[in-house]
């Protein structure tokens, strides 16, 4: 009996010591663990496409402006979109036309880059659905006639505007975004697009589509690029 109670006492003492050790150990390790908890900034990022601003300043036949933004919904995934306006005059040997209009692109970006520490750089694939409302003006054209040496070329300068044109497309994007200063990002991206639908002007075609870019005779595909500067407005921090 005595032995039994002594054993009980001993066990409970050891148990108590272990618990105390445990508690002690926990107290000791709290700051240690905390330094390895990585909290990522979540927020809304706003930006502009610098390439469009640069081209507006340098090219006489182009003007454009684009605002872009994204909102982080998980460690890897962002809801992203762009809204912009473009005016572009396309000139070939026989044809001179101007497209003018607005566009909206909505989609998401998926970050493939594994960041060290609390860094938030992006190497991403993006997907967008884009729509554009625009008009095209046929400024002037020269009749395509390889036998025109006899009577001379005929030029027709009777501007005609085709309004109410619209196009929808899907877009795959690949790009980088790097945080160069706190919350300030610069990025580049390449865009591959494919038109889903479009209204074609009568006896003409869509030469340039704001947001989509120039069209190609070979099909419904298009390409583009962006050079963005954006600022992150942090809303909260979260562990991954």
């Amino acid at each position: 009996m005595k032995m039994k109670s002594m054993l009980k006492y001993f066990i409970s003492l050891v148990g108590c010591m272990i618990m105390c050790m445990n508690l002690h150990a926990q107290q000791d390790s709290i700051p240690t663990i905390d330094s390895f908890v990585i909290k990522k900034k979540y927020g809304i990022r706003f930006g502009v496409d610098l390439s469009k601003i640069t081209r507006t300043l340098l090219e006489s036949d182009y003007s454009g402006f684009e605002l872009n933004g994204d909102y982080r919904i998980s460690n890897k995934l962002y809801i992203a979109g762009e809204v912009g306006t473009e005016e572009r005059t396309s000139i070939t040997d026989y044809l001179n036309s101007t497209a003018e209009g607005n566009y909206l692109k909505i989609g998401s970006d998926y970050n493939m880059h594994n960041n060290w520490g609390d860094m938030d750089n992006l190497v991403y694939f993006g997907f967008r659905f884009g729509i554009s409302n625009f008009k095209q003006t046929l400024n002037n054209y020269t009749i395509y006639d390889t036998n025109s040496q006899t009577w001379g070329p005929t030029e027709i300068a009777d501007p005609k505007t085709f309004t109410g044109l619209n196009t929808g497309w899907v877009e795959l994007m690949f790009g980088f975004k790097a945080e160069v200063l706190t919350n300030l990002f610069v990025g580049v991206n390449l865009q591959m697009k494919r038109r889903l639908y479009e209204t074609q002007p009568d006896n003409f075609e869509n030469i340039y589509i704001p947001g989509f870019g120039r069209t190609f005779d070979s099909g419904k595909f298009g390409i583009g690029f962006g050079y963005n500067v954006s600022y992150l407005v942090p809303l909260y921090k979260k562990v991954k």
Partner: protein, 168 residues
């Protein structure tokens, strides 16, 4: 990623040709005339020393037609004006010859009136003109070698077929 960039560059550079109008693209068609035997209207009859010039108002000598040379043949292609005047005249010579700067041969005049329609081709080539023949006439003179004509195809959209038959 490398493949993606490659694909991107291929797309950029392979499509530049879209901006250059290739010679093979169907251009504004010329009027195609074929000559037939007046006495046997189903038979093609070549014209000896056939030559043509454009005829512009106030220029009796005529306007040289590009690539037009004298030679005996049964078919000729003539460029119509696309400037909105909607009529073109040509001088057609039979037995044309030039000796010491003096022209010889039988000279007749034809006149075509038409409507035009400019049809979109492509961004590189722009628009070409198609024609709808309204009238085709041979100006009468004392020694007319072209006696009669027949419009076969009124809408000129290509040069693959004969638009007008002339009997001589």
């Amino acid at each position: 990623m490398k493949q993606f960039l490659c694909l991107f560059l291929i797309v950029i550079f392979s499509c530049e040709k879209d901006d250059i109008c290739a010679d093979t693209v169907q251009t504004t068609p010329r009027l195609v005339i074929e000559f037939y035997d007046l006495t046997a209207p189903d038979n093609v009859l070549a014209v000896a020393g056939l030559f043509a010039r454009g005829l512009d108002s106030g220029n009796a000598e005529g306007v040289p037609i590009n690539n037009e040379v004298v030679f005996t043949r049964s078919k000729i292609s003539l460029p119509l004006k696309t400037d909105g005047s909607n009529e073109t005249e040509f001088i057609l010579f039979k037995n044309y010859d030039v000796v010491d700067g003096v022209e010889s041969g039988n000279r007749d005049t034809i006149k075509i009136t038409y409507n035009t329609e400019n049809v979109y081709v492509s961004r590189a080539c722009g628009y070409k003109t198609n024609f709808e023949i309204l009238t085709f006439s041979i100006t009468e003179d004392s020694d007319q070698w072209m006696r009669n004509s027949d419009i076969i195809i009124y809408n000129i959209t290509n040069e693959n077929e004969i638009h007008v038959k002339i009997f001589h």
